[in-house]
């Protein structure tokens, strides 16, 4: 490592993110401890009202609901993306198949939400079809409920899970699976005990890329959710722009920030130590085998 120019190179980006990212975070941290202003905004004195307000039942319900929606989204996304990424990685036409994943990935986020509104809405494609064919005689309420939020979240997050999974599965040495089969493992067992531990880093990335946006979702619950699918993101926006209770919007934002950061750190750490343990166990086995 040569000369002392590192700070010079990193200077501009550091200044930019300090002013336009760290400082705004500190501002909402400060606002969350202040009192609500008369016409929006905040004023002194310092108070814990904005945090005390979080103790009510509605907020706890929304937090739990947000967590449930994010977990369901992550689970479904993973269940669908793992075999999909596996299939692409084992295909001989990877580039073409990958492009099929990238096109919806690049299609505008709001268009992808809108597509489902056009299909599931009361006057949407599906209801029109059901009414015309006589399967139902009345509109079925597909939208504005929790299942719609989860469905659309899975739809929007899926490419973000497939791509990192593909990247790690592609590097996996598939002859290991054959070796496991030769040693007597069943097909499912070989995949579960040889493939999965080896693509752990990809799974970690996929889970994070799905869970974080789902946990902080705003646009999807706002557009396809109803009263049973309020999420933390929607109530932050409401407090900020409609109710104009800035200290409360700030305190909910802080809760979102802390929960997300803590979740990410714990998840990454747990995974790292699990991977580390697996590696050590494998090393020990290998050493034993060599000694024997």
């Amino acid at each position: 490592m040569k000369r002392g120019h590192g700070a010079l190179y990193a200077g501009p980006v550091t200044v930019w993110l300090t002013v336009f990212f760290i400082a705004p975070l500190l501002v909402i941290l400060a606002y969350s401890f202040m009192t609500r202003g008369v016409h929006g905004g905040v004023r002194l004195p310092l108070a814990l009202d904005a945090y005390a307000a979080l103790a009510n039942r509605v907020f706890v319900k929304v937090t739990v609901s947000t967590l449930m929606i994010a977990l369901a989204t992550t689970g479904l996304t993973l269940a669908l993306s793992l075999p999909t990424a596996y299939f692409i990685a084992r295909s001989r036409r990877r580039e073409a198949l990958l492009l099929l994943v990238i096109i919806p990935f690049w299609t505008n986020f709001l268009i992808r939400i809108y597509a489902w509104i056009a299909i599931l809405g009361n006057n949407g494609f599906l209801n029109t079809l059901l009414l015309h064919t006589g399967i139902t005689s009345e509109h079925v309420q597909f939208l504005y409920r929790r299942s719609a939020v989860i469905l659309v979240l899975v739809y929007t997050e899926l490419p973000f899970a497939i791509l990192p999974l593909y990247a790690t599965i592609e590097k996996f040495d598939f002859t290991l699976l054959e070796a496991a089969r030769d040693l007597g493992a069943g097909k499912a067992q070989a995949h579960l005990r040889v493939l999965l531990p080896n693509i752990r880093s990809g799974i970690t990335t996929a889970v994070l890329f799905t869970f974080i946006p789902a946990f902080g979702a705003y646009a999807v619950p706002q557009l396809v959710g109803g009263t049973d699918s309020m999420m933390l993101g929607t109530i932050v926006a409401r407090e900020l722009t409609v109710t104009r209770n800035w200290p409360l919007a700030s305190s909910i934002s802080m809760v979102l920030t802390v929960l997300t950061t803590a979740g990410v750190v714990l998840f990454v750490r747990a995974n790292r130590s699990a991977t580390e343990q697996a590696r050590q166990a494998a090393m020990a086995q290998r050493a034993e085998a060599l000694g024997a």
Binding site: G6, A7, L17, L25, N108, A118, F125, Y155
Partner: protein
């Protein structure tokens, strides 16, 4: 060989159906003569409306392009320099810089939107295209940094040392050794930054002022008015644009990187 992967093959097919069925419905009904989601004959009237009677939309398209190119250019410059500094040098507060560049990647977008809105209001900056530009640089720069760093990882610092030993000054080393080495990462970073900027809804929603609407914001306001065949037509144009862009950026990337 292929028959062995029937299990994952089924899932792949399911995923593709899930991906493309909704988009196919949009494409189909953009050519529908009627306003309803029931087929009543072929028509191009929604395209006529889109291209001839949607001035506000084209204003938003212009904003999106200006913001995407300018913010990606600035983010690429800041991110590239930052990556060089973080990857090859040790300096004081390095840990802080690492956290400040990593945190935006893991926090939900709404946090950045809300905090920037509150921040701009606090220092009395009116919301405009400028605030959108600032926000877009902030959330794209960590991605550029990551992509350039990934590229630098493949290279040996001794190449730079050799340049210094041969008498290169700091500026020469940067312009003639480091930047060419990092070029694939820089190009990828720029393209990702443009994409993220064009795509962003949540952050832009909070920091855009009157007249600084972008494509996603415009689509949002259209959706709030209800389902309209004009949005279907717009979707088709955007999806087609996406496909063209996906192919051409691959080619541009290959051309610049020279593979």
């Amino acid at each position: 060989m292929r028959t062995r992967h029937w299990f994952s093959g089924w899932f792949f097919g399911l995923t593709m159906l899930f991906f493309y069925a909704p988009l196919a419905v949009l494409v189909l009904f953009s050519f529908n003569a009627s306003r309803a989601m029931a087929w009543e004959g072929f028509s191009l009237r929604w395209y006529v409306e889109l291209f001839c009677r949607s001035r506000m939309l084209w204003h938003s398209v212009g904003n999106s392009v200006v913001i995407a190119l300018s913010s990606a250019a600035v983010a690429t410059a800041l991110g590239t320099l930052g990556a060089v500094g973080l990857y090859w040098y040790h300096f004081r507060f390095k840990r802080y810089v690492q956290i400040a560049t990593f945190l935006p990647l893991i926090l939900p977008e709404i946090i950045m939107g809300v905090s920037l809105l509150v921040f701009f209001a606090g220092i009395g900056v009116p919301l405009s295209l400028l605030t959108v530009f600032i926000a877009h640089v902030s959330f794209t720069v960590p991605f550029v940094l990551l992509l350039v760093m990934a590229r630098l990882e493949e290279f040996d610092y001794s190449i730079i040392e050799a340049a210094y030993d041969l008498g290169a000054r700091e500026w020469d080393a940067l312009a003639r050794v480091i930047v060419p080495i990092a070029m694939p990462g820089i190009v990828a970073g720029f393209l990702v930054a443009v994409t993220l900027s064009l795509e962003d809804f949540v952050v832009t929603f909070f920091v855009a002022g009157p007249g600084s609407s972008t494509i996603p914001l415009h689509v949002y306001s259209m959706i709030r008015f209800g389902v309209s065949p004009v949005i279907n037509a717009l979707s088709v144009i955007l999806i087609a644009g996406t496909i063209v862009l996906a192919f051409s950026t691959r080619n541009v990337y290959r051309y610049i990187v020279g593979k």
